[in-house]
């Protein structure tokens, strides 16, 4: 039943190494200091669970989006104080029909993982998609997103994409 892949042979990149974080018991651990939500955390949200982009699977390929460089750390803009996140992603090919679904996955994952105070913007990187404006409009329209998430088939697809891949 699976339709022929549009981009059958994508370039696959390696995942980046993560720096270690301090845990209780380490000398530099401070119980009351706050960890600000930063680029890396958003990137990680999309990677492990709260750590939110690396893990989302491209609906067309069994690779996670980081391996395909759909999202890089630098493509995330975040301001914890002003509660604002903007994610710019790059579809694997210019006419990728799944761009909206990828965008929707990103949005859902962030909505489920970030505090509700955050405003989330999802954008296609300029010049990387044939119908850029249409996709951007669709992804950032509250009503349309809400409507999309009422559609059981779409939600199933999104959930499928968000299943963590254990390696």
């Amino acid at each position: 039943m699976a339709p022929a892949l549009i981009n059958a042979n994508p370039v696959v990149y390696e995942k980046k190494e993560r720096p270690a974080r301090s845990r209780p018991g380490d000398a530099d651990f401070n119980e009351y200091a706050a960890d600000i939500i930063d680029q890396l955390e958003i990137f990680d949200i999309l990677s492990t669970f709260l750590h939110h982009i690396r893990d989302i699977k491209d609906p067309e390929h069994p690779y996670s989006l980081e391996e395909l460089k759909v999202i890089t750390e630098d493509a995330i803009e975040v301001d914890d104080k002003r509660s604002y996140v903007r994610v710019t992603f790059t579809p694997t090919v210019e006419h990728c029909s799944m761009a909206t679904v990828i965008g929707l996955c990103l949005r859902v994952k962030l909505m489920r993982s970030l505090p509700s105070r955050f405003k989330v913007d999802i954008k296609v990187a300029p010049g990387t998609h044939a119908t850029e404006d249409a996709v951007n409009k669709q992804l950032n329209d509250k009503e349309r997103v809400a409507a999309a998430l009422e559609n059981p088939n779409l939600v199933d697809m999104v959930d499928e994409c968000l299943t963590p891949s254990y390696e």
Binding site: R23, P24, E31, L50, R112
Partner: protein, 1029 residues
């Protein structure tokens, strides 16, 4: 019993054959067993059974006929151990062989044939031929179901195994049938059999066999398509492991040299694939096949093999260890197959020679150098001839390059070659006759002539190079040279000594470079151990003079600028080589310890104190454990303890008022404890007597409390005592201890606990107990009492009940008293329940009764439980909860699980009360961990399910606990675990939990947020997708 009478067997047959749904499979199996039993016991004969079954075996109803034949076949399988008449077997096998044509009732025929064929001696050759013929004519194996295919393969296997003569006579046909049968097989279990079939067929026919030769290509085409073994659906791995299949296929590949023209090209092709797993597999197969196919067949492939092998090794980085190691194994196999050709290929390889030539002028990449180093290493170790060839082509050139201008590349390859020839020498040499041969080999002569030059350039590289890698290689090279055994002529004694001198001078002067220093020290100790093991009497004296003497001298040498900690490290490392060195070093250490302690006591010299601490630490971590390991005697430990006491005796009048630094005090007491603990009980008595004399003399001299140091050391001695040690003046000792602990000296309470644990006497216990409880006016006494309780409870003494009752009464009746005392009482339960590093553990010879914690748990918990219910004062309640939390969190989880139902509610109350005070956060965390333990244990589920509501409510509050991140994290993890409980139980709380988590998503700590997302996901997925997002 009626069932087993002969008359009823007809009924059993009917039951089995009946295919209607009224009879369950279990029922039918029972009938089968019953008939088999009758036959076994000769109640009925096989003939009469067959006669009775006649109709079932021949009827035209396919289903009934199939069942009938299957019944007969199954019976024969079960009777495999019973001997049958030849005539019976002949007629039965004729029947089954003929039935192979009956595809509707095939299962029974297959089972029957297999059962009979397995009776190896009973089947005549003609019968076996008949079965084989019928099999070949009638069966299309690949059109059958999985189980039938498996039976077919088993029949074929049985034919080859048991009737090779029969199979030999029909060569061509048989091989053809096998080809046909296995073509396109996909089931892992059947595949395992097919691979084995190919292997045994190939073994059966001689290599010159025409039929095998003509079918070899076809057979291999079938086999080859399975390589490399890879499951597209991981489920298949449950039945047959991938490794098993892969190994079976490998054996099949290597089963006959006739496969060589097809196998090697295939394997080479797969080797060039980009999949790591397929590379590894190809290398493994190639290694195995090379040996099996033999050199004359492999020779023609050498060039191709070498070039792909080279590419593989060159491109495999450090991370692909598996690929690299398999390639090297293959390389070794190939070289050992045929000495000359492959080595020549390597020697004339343009890549290798050009790289080696240009090491000094260009900077080639690290990976390539590593690869070449590994290739040359393996080649040189493979055989003497290859080693000679490689040395002759490269070695002198390399040495010249190294001495011109040392750089990492040539140093590295030099070192690889040295280590290769050393391991070659060790494998072929040793103290046997081969030595002489080895010493006359060209490589050895070359090494001998270049040794001077090489050594001096290695030394130069260590001294002058600024790169760590270079100096490391230098050290490694020198070490290998020094590690050649004495029988080897290549490295003379003079060179050995000069290497040692060089190393020692690095130890003494080049301590700024930590990495280099460490590796040199390690090299020295390796060299020492090696000459010790190989009993090299020529070199041992050199090592003694050059290394050991110098090292021992280091400790007392104040002039050297070397840091003291490094001195101690170097000395102790050398000491671990053997007992002789260790004894020398211990003597020196003792002197040093005593002098530096003396200095620091007398004038508070902080440098001496620091030295003393380093030395004591070395004693603790290196010397004492070493002596315990080699298990010689306890003299060293005893001596050390006595020496310290003697020094105290000497200095006693001097250091009364100086304040001994706290860290030094701790180090001294710890070492004293360990030293005394490793003594025998006789020696312990000696030490105890000595220390007691000194202690009481201080009382006499000063008429006041002896200084902290003496009493602390005395405590250490008591703590480390063996239960068998004789104690002369228990009463006075107790008196001293009690007094000192009343003054707030905590180690004395440890000593008191240990004393009661090991040397109990009812009378003295009573005295101390009364003395401590009577006044009970300060916290120190409570602490003392709790350690006493711990000592008693560990040995299972009844008196502990009095102690516990005293504590409980105190908590319940003293609600108005000052809180500090009450807290101390509550915390005493933690002392009694938890394990201590400082005293009362196995290492310090405590008497430990099994399950003492459970016993205390079961005594205390019911009392605390009822008191909590009764108490109406807030303070008392919170203190009781504190005590209960200590008891629960230190008890073994299994004990808590047993009482989980009663305890859950109390624990939750406790969590709520404890969360009110910041001070209690650690206790809170420990208690929460117990709750999470219950949550994740299968046995705790019932108790949890009953209390879901209160647990969720309590955890939801703890999710926001501000004072400890771990508490929040664990609370969320507990909630995650709860989402797995029965749906109906947890569903109602979904909203509440998700709400609590929405705050946690905004937690200040990242890891809490992370857990919150996981938990939220877990709770969201227990219902449909309709979570608010």
């Amino acid at each position: 019993m009626a069932d087993s009478t002969p008359i009823n067997f007809v009924k059993h047959i009917e039951t089995y054959v009946d295919s209607s749904s009224s009879k369950s499979p279990a029922h039918q199996d029972a009938s089968l067993d019953a008939i088999a039993k009758l036959l076994m016991n000769d109640m009925i004969t096989l003939e009469s059974l067959v006669r009775e079954m006649g109709m079932y075996l021949t009827t035209t109803d396919n289903i009934i006929r199939a069942r009938g034949i299957l019944l007969l076949a199954e019976l024969l399988t079960r009777l495999s151990s019973k001997s049958l008449e030849n005539a019976t077997i002949h007629s039965l096998i004729g029947f089954f062989a003929e039935r192979l044509s009956d595809w509707r009732a095939l299962r029974g025929a297959l089972v029957g044939c297999l059962a009979l064929m397995k009776r190896k001696g009973d089947i005549s050759k003609s019968d076996a031929t008949a079965v084989a013929q019928s099999f070949m004519q009638n069966l299309q194996v690949q059109s059958l179901g999985q189980h039938d295919r498996k039976l077919c393969f088993e029949i074929l296997e049985c034919l080859i195994d048991c009737y090779p003569d029969t199979v030999m006579t029909m060569e061509d046909d048989f091989v053809y049938v096998i080809c046909e049968a296995i073509d396109g097989e996909k089931d892992p279990q059947c595949l395992l059999l097919t691979f084995h079939l190919v292997e045994i067929v190939a073994h059966l026919y001689p290599d010159s066999s025409n039929s095998l030769a003509s079918y070899a290509e076809d057979l291999f085409n079938i086999l080859g398509s399975y390589f490399p073994i890879h499951f597209t659906h991981p489920k298949g791995e449950d039945d047959v492991k991938r490794e098993e299949l892969s190994r079976a296929l490998m054996l099949a590949f290597a089963s006959t040299p006739l496969f060589e023209p097809f196998a090697i090209p295939l394997l080479l092709e797969k080797l060039s694939s980009s999949l790591p797993s397929s590379k590894v597999e190809s290398l493994k197969y190639l290694s195995y096949c090379t040996v099996k196919y033999g050199p004359h067949r492999m020779l023609q492939h050498f060039e191709l093999l070498w070039s792909s092998l080279k590419d593989t090794i060159f491109s495999s980085g450090q991370s692909d260890n598996k690929i690299a190691s398999e390639s090297l194994i293959l390389l070794k196999n190939l070289i050992q197959q045929d000495d000359g050709k492959l080595v020549n290929l390597i020697l004339n390889d343009a890549d290798i020679t050009s790289t080696l030539k240009s090491l000094n002028t260009t900077v080639p990449d690290q990976q390539r150098i590593n690869a070449i180093g590994r290739i040359l290493h393996v080649s040189a170790t493979s055989s003497i001839a290859s080693c000679n060839a490689i040395f002759q082509s490269f070695f002198s050139d390399l040495v010249t390059q190294v001495s011109d201008r040392p750089n990492f590349g040539c140093l590295y390859i030099c070192v690889e070659l040295l280590s290769a020839c050393r391991s070659l020498f060790m494998n072929h040499g040793g103290p046997t006759s081969l030595n002489h041969n080895n010493n006359e080999q060209p490589w050895c002569i070359m090494l001998h002539s270049l040794c001077d030059k090489l050594t001096s350039s290695l030394v130069k590289s260590i001294k002058e190079s600024s790169e760590d890698a270079c100096s490391q290689s230098g050290v490694e090279g020198l070490k290998i040279l020094a590690l050649f055994p004495g029988s080897f002529m290549g490295v003379s004694k003079v060179i050995f000594e000069s290497i040692l001198v060089e190393f020692v001078s690095i130890i003494v002067f080049k301590f700024d470079n930590g990495v280099l220093w460490g590796s040199v020290l390690k090299a020295l100790s390796e060299i020492g151990s090696f000459i010790e093991e190989s009993h090299d009497f020529e070199k041992i004296p050199s090592f003694d003079v050059i290394v050991v003497e110098k090292m021992v001298g280091l400790l007392s040498d104040d002039d050297s600028s070397m840091p003291f900690s490094l001195k101690v490290k170097a000395v102790s490392e050398i000491g671990t080589i053997n007992l002789k060195y260790m004894m020398k070093i211990v003597e020196e250490l003792n002197k040093s310890v005593i002098t530096s302690l003396h200095k620091s006591w007398i004038d508070g010299n902080s440098k001496s104190a620091e030295h003393a601490m380093l030395l004591l630490e070395c004693y603790d971590n290196k010397v004492l454990p070493w002596f315990q390991n080699v298990n010689i005697s306890d003299d060293v430990a005893t001596n050390f303890a006595l020496k310290i006491w003697e020094q105290i005796e000497e200095d006693i009048t001097l250091f009364s008022d100086t304040h001994v630094e706290k860290k030094l005090l701790e180090a001294t007491t710890d070492t004293m404890k360990n030293a005394v603990a490793s003594c025998s009980s006789e020696n312990q008595t000696k030490i105890l007597d000595k220390s007691f004399t000194i202690l009481s003399s201080t009382f006499k001299v000063k008429k006041s409390n002896p200084v902290n140091l003496i009493i602390s050391l005395f405590d250490s001695v008591i703590i480390a005592l063996h239960p068998k040690t004789h104690v002369k003046n228990p009463k006075i000792i107790l008196q001293i201890l009690t007094e000192s602990l009343t003054n707030g000296h905590i180690p004395s309470s440890h000593a008191l606990g240990s004393f009661f644990n090991k040397i109990p006497s009812k009378e003295s216990i009573d005295i101390s107990f009364i003395q401590l409880t009577k006044s009970c006016s300060n916290v120190n006494e409570i602490v003392g009492l709790s350690w006493m309780g711990k000592g008693l409870v560990m040995r299972g003494d009844e008196k502990v009940k009095d102690v516990i009752m005293f504590f409980l009464d105190f908590l319940i009746s003293n609600s108005s008293q000052d809180q500090e005392m009450m807290r101390a009482v509550a915390d005493s339960f933690s002392v009694m329940m938890s394990d201590s590093e400082k005293c009362l553990n196995k290492k310090l010879h405590a008497v430990i009764k099994p399950l003492y914690k459970q016993r205390l748990f079961s005594i205390v918990v019911p009392i605390l439980q009822s008191s909590i219910v009764k108490s109406d004062s807030v303070i008392t309640r919170s203190m009781l909860h504190r005590a209960l939390a200590h008891v629960i969190s230190n008890a073994p989880l299994s004990a808590v699980l047993g009482e989980a139902k009663k305890l859950i509610a109390l624990m939750l109350d406790g969590l709520t009360i404890l969360s009110e005070d910041v001070e209690n956060r650690d206790i809170l965390y420990n208690l929460l961990l117990v709750l999470s333990g219950i949550l994740t244990d299968k046995n705790g589920e019932e108790a949890i399910v009953e209390n879901v509501y209160i647990i969720v409510r309590c955890l939801s509050k703890l999710v926001a606990y501000p004072h400890m991140m771990l508490v929040r994290e664990t609370a969320i993890q507990c909630l995650t675990a709860m989402s797995e409980l029965p749906y109906a139980r947890v569903y109602p709380f979904r909203q509440e939990v998700v709400q609590a988590l929405s705050k946690a998503l905004d937690d200040s700590k990242r890891s809490v947020r992370q857990e919150a997302v996981k938990c939220r996901q877990a709770w969201a997925s227990i219902s449909s997708r309709s979570l608010h997002i």
